[in-house]
Structure formats: structure tokens, C-alpha cells
Symmetry: C2
Subunit: 280 residues, 2 copies
Amino acid sequence: MVTIAVIAPGAMGSAVAALLHGNGARILTVLAGRSAATIARARDAGMEGVDEADLAGADFVLSIVPPAEATALATRLAPILAAAARKPVYVDCNALNVATKRGVAGVIAQTGAPFIDAAIIGAPPRPGGKGPRIYVSGDDLASSVALRELGLDIRPVEGGVGAAAALKMSYAGINKGLTALAAAMVLAAGRAGAAEALHAELAESEPELLARFARVLPDMVPKAYRWVAEMDEIAGFLEGDDGGRLMFDGAGRLYARLAAEGDGDEIARLRAFAAAAERP
Amino acid sequence: MVTIAVIAPGAMGSAVAALLHGNGARILTVLAGRSAATIARARDAGMEGVDEADLAGADFVLSIVPPAEATALATRLAPILAAAARKPVYVDCNALNVATKRGVAGVIAQTGAPFIDAAIIGAPPRPGGKGPRIYVSGDDLASSVALRELGLDIRPVEGGVGAAAALKMSYAGINKGLTALAAAMVLAAGRAGAAEALHAELAESEPELLARFARVLPDMVPKAYRWVAEMDEIAGFLEGDDGGRLMFDGAGRLYARLAAEGDGDEIARLRAFAAAAERP
């Protein structure tokens, strides 16, 4: 039986774990200090809570955490991996810029464990549904066949460690950057009393974008806090492109404001725009 | 016969003039100091070159200039309008933020001429084709019926002077902001060797966006220089939204860099990505 440590049991981590568990893998995770809701979600996904020291017994360690925590997790696990006689393959699945991803790879390299740069694109897998694409790059891809056999949609990308990260950054930059643009412009149109006119014009000339906004604006609200760090990573990925960097500095600041707002007036206006867009 | 001054005979101005002329209007413009190509384009559109002082004899003055020139044009024409016994309706059609548009309205108000805030959304009209939407707002809309009868797709927006401008800013922010995002991310993916992987992922999960990029990236290249000032206007429109402002400061800086690059390496890479996207 393949044993896979999945850290942490968030929305994506637990859904990936449930898929792997359903296909016969044993799933370890760490539950110390987690909320009752998270512990329940982990149990539902077939995840076993163990001490961090016991993660070294797994065949794979999948790091699926908020971007700002990825380097800290690798650093915390490094002594455990270094001490292990048989090393798990460390798979960093996080939305990190190329430099950050290479930094994580460097931390893991010192432990002697194989490393895979992975990037998850798409929504968490649902029972019976199609899972996200998991792009992988690096020199240690041979073992990823085992993950594919366990039901993950594994797709190798050429270019070594950093290639999967670059793909994720550029794809997420387009998607989450567009959502930030939509939020900024819908709110600004609303402040100027032009939200209805914007809606009507989009319905006529950009129906696909309007349908997208109806979907992604409400979907963004609970994730905005998480996207702040991801916007920072994308800005870092754009090193050397001052204009592009500024765009993502701005998107990060916008998401931070919306996250801090909770269920305030701006969120209500975004939801109202989306709801109007869904009407035929 | 309705007489309409159209300033200036650029791509949009001359196309609008040709439509109006074809539907029976007399079209005036100012050709002093313009290139031979512009003069030829104006003549083809049925535009008559006159002195600025003679524009006051028109029924309408349509200002269709780069955003950075809109206030200067109004200021230059103000004494001529103030001196006219019968005032033309001044229609500012430019992509200006609400504050700038109100500033132009203030300049014109002092001359006693009626003022319409107009916003052009869509490509220039082509012979036999559908023209752009021309949204209009303000207190002097009654006269715009004459423009509709001459074939313009005039659409009133409630909210007074600034409402049409706000619609244009928010719509252009989405469209041209998205093009800037696409350019930044395609170039960054290319620098990291991930352009092909990005292309493949978009083809699978975002075919509509990919098709759009294939169209808008090459289309943007000759316009990037003009969009720099428009990004400034949109940033100004986002006053009070620091994150949104930064996004458009960044987009403006990106367009300025691409405009300065001429036909360099980055432009070639954007064209190559677009060309690959058009292949089946």
C-alpha cells in the first residue's frame, strides 16, 4: 500500500486525500492544533492524524498549504526527512513563484529526499468528478507514476524545478488577476452609478465575460484572504516587469481589502452584480 | 443639413465622420499641421478642413481625441464657442475619468454651449457594418436625437455628466486591463520556458480566453502608446481604491514599455503566442 502524507487538510488537501484514499492509498496528516471542523473534514477524507515525526515513513509528502506557509513547512520537516533512512518524495504543490519554489527545493535537497515541483490547476476533485490537473516538473518525476495510478491527473512539464511553478503563476495571474479587475471595475461603476449600464453593455458585447463574473465574483469572496499571498507570489514571479508587478501588488491590496471587509457593503454589491448577471 | 465638426480625423473620428457624411451630414474638421496620410483619410471620409474659428458654425462639435488632449481641445475652443451667437452642442466622446470629464464640462459650461458626456464602446464603424455604441449622459441630451437619425447608435445613460464616462472607464478597465494581464503573463511564462504549457492549459480549460488573447494581443500592439493615457484615466477613476489604482498604474507602465519596444523581442513573443493560439 502506498502511504501519502498530505499537509494540510484544507479544502484542496482533503479533497485530494479523499481521492487518493478512495483509490487505495493510506493517508497521513497532522491534526495538532486544528479546529474541530478541520479534524472532522480530515477524518471524512480518510486521513489519519499522526505526529510530524511520523511523516517520514510515508512514500510521498504532499505540501498543499497557503503560499506563505510553504517554505516554513519544508524547513520544519527538513530535520525529520534528513534523519529518515528511506526518504519520502517531497511534492510541493503550492502556488509559489519560481524563486520561492527553488528555495523550497533547496531546503529539501539538503535532506536527501527527492523533490517534485507540482502545480494544481482546477478545482478540488469531487466524488465521482474530474480532478484538477497536477503539473509536475523536476528531475525526480519517475515516482509520480504511482500518484497517477492512484487517480491524480499528473502531467509532466519540461524545464526542471520551477517550470510547473511558472505555469501555475501565469495561469493564476490571468484568472485571479481578471477576477480582481472585475471586482475593481464593478465596484467603481457602482460608486459612479453606472453598474447597471456596465451590466447591460457586458450582456450585449461580452456575454462570456459577464457569465464568468457571475461565477467568479461570489466564489472569490471566501478565498480573498488566501489570494493575498498568491498575488505576492505572482508579483515576485514578474520580477523585471515593473508594470506587471504593480498590477499584482494592486490585486493583492484589493483582495486584502475585500477579505478584511467581511460581509460589508462592497461584498454585497459584488454579489448583487453577480446575481443580476445570472438572470436571463 | 446638419453640420458636425469632428475633431480629430483619427481612426475613430474619421470612421464616425464617414458614417455621418454618408447619412447626409456636412462634416467639418481641422487639418492644419496634420500629415498627408491623415489629410487623405479625412478627405476620404468626406471631411472638410476649416479653421478652428469656423467650427462654431457647426450644430455639433464631436471631440474624439487621445484622452490626454481632451481638456486642451476644450480649452482652446472655449473662446470660439463663447463668442458664437448660436452655440454648437459640444460632445466629448473621449475615454476620460469622471473628474476629467466634469472638468471638460466645466470649461464648456462657461461658454454657454450645451454639453454631452459621450462614451464610445466598440470598434470604429465600417462601411455597411454595425457601429460602436455611443452612450450619452448629461442634461442636454435632447439634441442627440439628431445624431441617432444620422446613423449613430446613441444610447442615453441616466446619472448626468460623468455617467457615460464611468461606464467607459469600467468597461475599458475590464477589457484593456485583461489584455495587459494576458501580455504580462504570456511574457513571464515565456521567460520561464512555460509559454507552451500555458498555451496547452488555456486551450483545455479556458478556450474562450485563449481565443480572445489570439485576437487582442496583436491588436493591442499598435495601440499600446494610446492606451498609456487611458490607463492613467482609469487609475484616476479608481480614486479611493488603492489596489485598483495600482493595477492600472501597472497596466499603463506595461503598455508604455511595449509601445517603446516597437517591434522587439517581447512583441514577437506575443505575436507568436497569438499565432499558436489560432492553430486548430
